[in-house]
Subunit: 426 residues, 2 copies
Amino acid sequence: MIKNLIFINVLIKLFVLLVKNLVGLEYSDKLYKKYATLSRQVNENFINIHPIQRGGVLTPEAQKVLLEYGDGYSLCDNCLKGRIDLIKNPPIDEFLIDFAKFIDMDNAMPTGAARDAKRMAITALKERFPERKTVIIDSLAHYSTYLAIELNKLKIKEVPNSGDTYFEINPEDYRTKIEEVKKEEGVTPLLVLLTHVDYQYGNYNDPKPIGDISKEYDVPFLLNAAYSAGILPVFGRELGVDLLSCSGHKSMAASGPIGMLGFSDEFVDNILVPSKIHGDLTDRSFSGKFCNFLGCPPVYGAPMMTLMASFPSVVKRTQKNVVEDEQKKINFVVEEISKIKGIEVLGKLPKIHPLTHIKTESFNEVAKSHKRRGFFVRDEFKKRGILGMAPGISKNMKFNTYGLTWDQVKTFANAFLDIAEKYDLL
Amino acid sequence: MIKNLIFINVLIKLFVLLVKNLVGLEYSDKLYKKYATLSRQVNENFINIHPIQRGGVLTPEAQKVLLEYGDGYSLCDNCLKGRIDLIKNPPIDEFLIDFAKFIDMDNAMPTGAARDAKRMAITALKERFPERKTVIIDSLAHYSTYLAIELNKLKIKEVPNSGDTYFEINPEDYRTKIEEVKKEEGVTPLLVLLTHVDYQYGNYNDPKPIGDISKEYDVPFLLNAAYSAGILPVFGRELGVDLLSCSGHKSMAASGPIGMLGFSDEFVDNILVPSKIHGDLTDRSFSGKFCNFLGCPPVYGAPMMTLMASFPSVVKRTQKNVVEDEQKKINFVVEEISKIKGIEVLGKLPKIHPLTHIKTESFNEVAKSHKRRGFFVRDEFKKRGILGMAPGISKNMKFNTYGLTWDQVKTFANAFLDIAEKYDLL
């Protein structure tokens, strides 16, 4: 019996090994059907309130260039010097100057994403200040902020937040933390980092007082504006920001992935580091390429062109009137759904940024006896033409009304109330 | 006089300072016109022979999903676990298994680009073998290979090539270089790297003998297949490859940027490193995210979806009959243009990969007395409906016939001959 089992086991292992070692993959109709006919279910028939998608919805101008510049390296048509930031046709060189003005920084360079911008900025500072070991961050920072610090083998020190239900940051706590680092390590922290608008509660934090504190201690200040730049006005220098990370696909109506790193003149030599390596045999060298960007930032076609095509609209939508209208929309929704029993809005109110997180205890109660369990929430909204809820979750919900029309916003709020009525929660 | 000059100088400086410090950027019709109406001049009215664009031209299937998945984070519609490689709808999880089969590697993960795949692989190996300091590369390696090594603060050792005109690599030189490193450093090199098809001459190098040598010395072997995987058959394990970098926008009909890193089971724990950082105050942690990928590989919409939609066609086009037909096309062009005086094909012949580099000494002679100087080459081709030449260059030329129809290939070759005839070079 045991012998038989061992034999069968060996056979199975041999079979797995055999299958694993079949070389290559054959073309088949099945393969074609599986991948070549994929299509997205989320389309213009639905109102999409996905929390991280609203700011990245393309403008009509971006959709146009998306097709024209969809091919891999389409931005290289007229590249003369092998570097994207120097391309004149289309005018990427001028765009980077205009973009820097837009975010009120001295310089701007494209990156793979906002997370890459953070990673690169931290690496650059570490090279400049090798004796400094700690990065101070707000405790609501994006997970990729933690990972960028980990990847750079640095220590983290979190600034507390007030917890449930407002999750507020007290800027003065940054001072306390800087003092702690000075005491513990004998040097200032490497960097002070603030998440302008956080991804958990959509809380807006004023960078100015933290900018002032960081200046006082002469510590560089990085503002992660992945959720804000392109949605709210962001003026880096005015806020005392030294380094600023932005996201095209998150907040600037660009096809991903593209980030932007804004930086002050003081850090130019640390961010734009020309390659110094020489081939030991050939003496090949690449002094025209930036080492930390691996030569060219990887945004060769669709990402860069959609960002540029959307840019005028993005400049426009960060003006006071549009920003205020967007705030009215989200605060209208917040007010409407507050009528529902067992729903609580987390984070600061009134909303400044439309990313919103709510606790839906009453939905969770319904889910317990619903045959579709937690999926009933998504089902009910989908029936009402609304998509973007996390599947299977009924305890809480994140949504974002950015860029929806007032009609869509009202439909969304009404769907909430309608579902509440159905389950007797009004 | 001098006083006046100083005064004017100060005034100018003040003015520049003032302009630089104007906060923000105003929306204007000019801004709209400048960025929102950009369009690409290279389109279906032209035959595009750009050396690095041919493999990235989208399939019709990719063009379709490009529009549907153009929005920033469109791939996150049905994300359950916050990691792209686990998404089941669309079936990214299965695609990564199919892709690994296609390149004959145990595993595959998307990256920002092939250069990122190389950078990450080298960082991973450095963590595993901290005592090893040197990477051995072929001397025709892509510049980003050099930069990835520089960024990791490692030493480089180049394997020579035979120089003008064939630029051949002798696999046995890898053995010599490994022995040199062992002697000089007392340990084996960190990595042996081969560029499967190089970007300068489009030379194809057989990885098998180098894979065998690297196995003999127990040194990991990375094959940079940025120009080959998707164009030619690449079977990693069969070739003794441990790590394999591929490029979607270069060679797999994907909208950039997207790379792929294939890796053997032996290196899973080095490549897929779960985050270990903990918030010092909140104890927040992210063990479900891969630290070195900063959480999610940045291919959230168009890049991943176009790669998947094109995948069946890419599998098909790397089969023998298509590969051979593409080789016939490029060798036909090579044969035709060899009739022109003062033109010499660089690199090995017959061509295996369609990326081709020619010395055009006779064009350079023409340019000397031409009123458009070096630009005349591009002008003449453009007149004949052909685009993709580097602007202003007449000394040499790089082109690529990949994926052109036979009619287009003949038109291209005839354009060459026609221009040659015009300038009396036949």
